[in-house]
């Protein structure tokens, strides 16, 4: 079947099987910034935003996002034009191996879009589904709080 989705703002028509999950479809379409690891919805690495809400792309049927908008980590910024979240992750040393980061950052993005001034506990809760095995989370949480502050400053300007 053919689906039409918007990925990072670009219209995208894709041929998929009804059983295909979004993770595989996105990677198959060269959106390789979406990383998979458990394929069971347990780890959060493959998180993308569908209409602004974080979902585990490994458990989401591609057919179900037909007509919807998907945002990957690359959709919020790249190495040349990083989003304040990405900048804060680098500056806080919050990315070690980096494999969980694309999922963690889009979860944080969804949080900050909804709640520009989260508490530390709110950050932990919003990103609880995003496992990281390298960092012990502390610097990632500080990065999100730093980015929130930066975004608020930019918003005020």
């Amino acid at each position: 079947m053919r689906i039409s989705i918007t990925v990072n703002g670009a219209q995208c028509a894709l041929d998929v099987d009804p059983g295909d999950v979004l993770l595989d479809v996105l990677r198959g379409a060269d959106y390789l910034e979406v990383k998979g690891t458990c394929h069971a919805g347990d780890c959060g690495a493959c998180t993308v935003l569908v209409d602004g809400h974080p979902v585990a792309s490994c458990l989401t049927l591609a057919a179900r996002v037909d007509g919807h908008s998907v945002t990957t980590v690359r959709g919020i910024g790249d190495g040349t034009h990083p989003h304040p979240l990405q900048k804060a992750f680098v500056e806080n040393g919050a990315a070690q191996c980096g494999y969980c980061i694309p999922g963690a950052i889009v979860s944080a993005k969804a949080l900050l879009d909804e709640n520009p001034e989260p508490t530390e506990d709110e950050v932990r809760l919003a990103m609880d589904a995003n496992y990281c095995r390298c960092t012990g989370y502390e610097q990632q949480i500080e990065a999100v709080l730093d980015a929130a502050e930066q975004l608020r400053k930019e918003g005020h300007r």
Binding site: C43, Q96, I101, R124, E138
Partner: protein, 808 residues
């Protein structure tokens, strides 16, 4: 300098002045990682080889037995299937999967495939097909009949007379396979039994640790293809590219000139990827089919059939006088090495060699142990590498001894701990699977770590108070640790540097950045020597064709060993630059100063004589005598295009007789729920001395990350097995690692100290932090409840049972 933010306190006083070292520069791969760049093995495979073959592995359903028949014809007939591999059509070379130095210390008890299966999940066959689905379907079509044999599923049974043998083929390098003993160690200093008998106070306890997995976010992934020149290239998520090349070359009988191993970015390793698990399969399949071949382990396979931590049962005895002065230390280890002996000898050796020297006041010491085969999943290297298990036993036993002596545990440790200027006979007696190398401690912040850590946790106020709210009671506990920095006189790293015309540099290192940030800190070290900012250097790592050799990312070696090579290479080209500067400035320079190899082999705090003539200053060479300066770019143009043309470049290698230990003191405050047995870590303090912190942010990340992994190991992470030895919880849903909300507040205290044998004063940091949680939390539970747990993890069930047992 002292830096104090919430959760992180970094003290660096009295250190040499530096401009890049000691600053938290951004990771050089940081922006590519946070934007999801296609930098991991499967990303590269997907982008460059969309029509590659996908490999899937058939695992054994039985724990022990022989394959009596295997029929692959139906699988081979399936459309899309290109190759089915079994013991019938693959090389029969015996090898070890352990990616270690040469000669290899692990037994040659592995073959690509064999008629015998030794654990549930052991390799039986592999299929390569156009799609993952076709490969999986083909696995179902392989018809295998097994003759099942009795299995040994408990390490305590393995050496009993008549126990089923896991390796009846008598593999080379195994200690006594006729009794399931893969490896054996016995070293003694003095007469420990006599000393124990003569001690006024003795204590003897047994501690058991459990099966756990590394859980790197990226599972093992490997891609192989034959390039246009006939060279077989392996792109692998490995910690040990050179060992992959050496071992695959042996298995397949291929010259190394026809084999290239590239490590791209990798999604975590923690020791699991110090292992050749699938590289041989994709390499052989690519040769056989002529097509690019990839295997990406599933999470389930990662749990069942990659590697784990060695479960150990450790008997620990300590003898001391009534004042607490240690006289005798005796440690016996029964290590379960599962179905294969990967790292069996060396992990077990480290259980003693990285723990007992910490308490060097005991004159009579014995460390001995057996690593036994069982029909269970296969342990291997795992962050901490045996020391983690050793400290679980040693540090909980010392805590009980302190109680017995009515002493403060910190005081007991302080009076017995190793100090600067001291050694331990264990350093020399016990190395990694062979004799060790004598060491004298040259730097230690242990006294400060203990003091600052105790203060941060509130030791004086909370210890022994058993503060209770309803059915929840609190306690504090602590533990003390050391590790090493590489394997002395074994681990070697090399680095190449060259100067570009514009005064920028290229650095190539064999060292393997597995997410630790080693590419970044090695770049910082070179930048420090060359007087430039880190962004003036571009760094390439881990390619067996394009970069020099390095043993790889293990044994806490990279900062120290690979860093030593980088410092030497940077000094070598700096001296070449000085030599041209002398020509330009018309000054005399003793050629011996610039031609001789830079001396960093041993103590490197000797004055560098050439620096009395020239120094580097932000892209310029400055003459100390005349004050005149010339730009490094001008020197490069002159050397490459104008006068006395030659390449300014150097390759240097580093191997050290030293392995300076980092030190740590860990403190935990816990709350134990009487009703449920649940242990909550309320607060955790990890104080560490890793020499000079090259990059404090990255140091902090290593420590918190190791502590998080350690707390998971202490509280929640555990393999469960069926009656037939099959792991029953191989998913991240059923095997619980810490999430953000599970993670307690961790305060990291780093007290820098200049280590004279280390590159720019640095020691290692990545492993040591994982050793703390089991003993520190166990000791805090003891402080809270008076109940001692002798088995990890401290799950609610186990804690509740222990509390009830104590009430009887």
């Amino acid at each position: 300098m002292s830096d104090h933010v919430k959760g992180f306190r970094h003290t660096a006083e009295g250190l040499p002045l530096t401009h890049v070292v000691g600053t938290s520069v951004d990771k050089i791969d940081g922006y590519s990682l946070v934007s999801g760049a296609p930098v991991y093995t499967d990303d590269i495979a997907a982008r460059e080889f969309p029509h590659r073959l996908h490999g899937k592995i058939l695992g054994s359903p039985i724990p022990q037995g022989m394959i009596t028949s295997i029929d692959t014809s139906s699988a081979e007939e399936l459309p899309g299937v290109h190759l089915v591999l079994t013991f019938k059509n693959t090389p029969r070379t015996f090898y070890t999967t352990a990616g270690q130095g040469w000669p290899e210390p692990s037994p040659y008890d592995n073959q690509m495939f064999t008629e015998r299966v030794r654990f549930v999940g052991d390799r039986v066959a592999a299929v390569f097909a156009d799609t993952v689905e076709a490969a999986e379907e083909a696995l179902h079509r392989i018809k295998v009949t097994y003759q099942e044999e009795p299995a040994v599923l408990d390490a305590s049974d393995a050496m009993k007379p008549g126990a089923p043998l896991v390796h009846p083929e008598n593999p080379k390098g195994a200690y006594d396979p006729a009794h399931n003993v893969a490896a054996h160690v016995d070293v003694a200093v003095g007469d420990v039994d006599a000393a124990l008998a003569a001690s006024e106070v003795t204590i003897a306890e047994t501690f058991e640790t459990h099966y756990a997995q590394h859980v790197p976010m990226e599972t093992h992934t490997s891609l192989a293809y034959v390039d246009d020149t006939g060279k077989l290239t392996i792109v692998s998520s490995t910690q040990v590219p050179w060992h992959v090349r050496r071992i695959v070359s042996r298995i397949l009988g291929m010259p190394m000139s026809k084999l290239r191993v590239i490590k791209p970015r990798i999604g975590g390793g923690f020791g699991a990827k110090q292992e050749i698990l699938i590289d041989d399969l994709v390499a052989y399949a690519a040769l056989r089919t002529g097509l690019p071949c990839e295997i990406e382990l599933t999470r389930k396979e990662e749990f069942i059939a990659s590697r784990t931590r060695h479960p150990m049962k450790i008997d620990m005895s300590i003898g001391c006088d009534t004042a607490g002065h240690f006289k005798a230390l005796k440690m016996y280890v029964l290590s379960n090495t599962g179905a294969y002996g990967s790292h069996s000898l060396t992990v077990m050796s480290n259980t003693g060699s990285k723990t007992l020297p910490l308490y060097n006041k005991a004159n009579d010491v014995r460390f001995y142990g057996d690593a036994v085969y069982t029909n269970l999943p296969v342990p291997g290297a795992y962050r901490g590498y045996g020391a983690t298990q050793g400290y679980a036993a040693l540090e909980t036993t010392i805590d009980d001894l302190a109680a017995k002596l009515h002493m403060d545990p910190i005081e007991l440790r302080t009076m017995n701990m190793i100090q600067v200027g001291e050694g331990s006979p264990i350093f020399e007696a016990l190395g990694e699977g062979r004799q060790g190398v004598a060491q004298t401690i040259k730097s230690s912040s242990l006294p400060e770590l203990l003091a600052l850590g105790a203060q941060a946790i509130g030791w004086q106020e909370k210890r022994g108070k058993r503060a209770r709210v309803g059915h929840k009671v609190r306690g504090v506990g602590m533990s003390m640790h050391m590790q090493g920095s590489g394997i002395p006189l074994i681990d070697m790293g090399a680095a190449s540097m060259k100067l570009n015309e514009d005064g920028t540099y290229f650095l190539a290192v064999g060292a393997t950045d597995i997410g630790t940030g080693s590419d970044t800190i090695l770049t910082q070290m070179a930048a420090e020597i060359l007087g430039v900012s880190a962004d003036m250097i571009s760094t390439l790592s881990s390619d067996t064709d394009l970069t020099p050799f390095d043993v790889g990312a293990y044994a806490s070696s990279t900062t120290f060993v690979s860093g030593g090579a980088v410092v030497k290479a940077a000094k070598a080209i700096r001296n070449q630059i000085f030599s041209v500067a002398a020509e330009v400035l018309g000054e005399e320079l003793d050629p011996m100063l610039v031609m001789s190899d830079p001396k960093v082999e041993g103590d490197n705090d000797q004055p560098d004589p050439i620096l009395s003539f020239y120094r580097m200053d932000d892209g310029y060479v400055v003459s100390v005598r005349s004050g005149r300066r010339v730009s490094v770019s001008e020197i490069a143009y002159r050397a490459y295009y104008e006068v006395g043309q030659h390449q300014i470049a150097s390759t240097q290698s580093f191997v050290s007789p030293y392995s300076p230990p980092p030190f740590a003191a860990h403190f935990a405050e816990v709350e134990v729920d009487d009703l449920t047995g649940k242990v909550t870590v309320v607060n955790y303090v990890a104080a560490v001395d890793c020499g000079v912190s090259i990059n404090p942010n990255l140091v902090r990340g290593q420590v918190v990350g190791a502590v998080a992994n350690g707390i998971g190991f202490a509280l929640t992470e555990e393999y469960h097995f069926s009656a037939r030895g099959a792991m029953t919880n191989p998913s991240l849903f059923d095997y619980k690692i810490l999430s953000r909300r599970d993670m307690p507040p961790v305060q990291v205290i780093v007290v820098d100290n200049y280590e004279p044998t280390g590159p720019l004063g640095a020691k290692s940091v990545a492993e040591i932090g994982i050793n703390g949680p089991i003993p520190a939390i166990g000791n805090a539970i003891f402080d809270a409840t008076g109940v001692r747990l002798h088995r990890s993890p401290y799950t609610p069930e186990r804690v509740l049972n222990a509390l009830r047992e104590a009430q009887k």
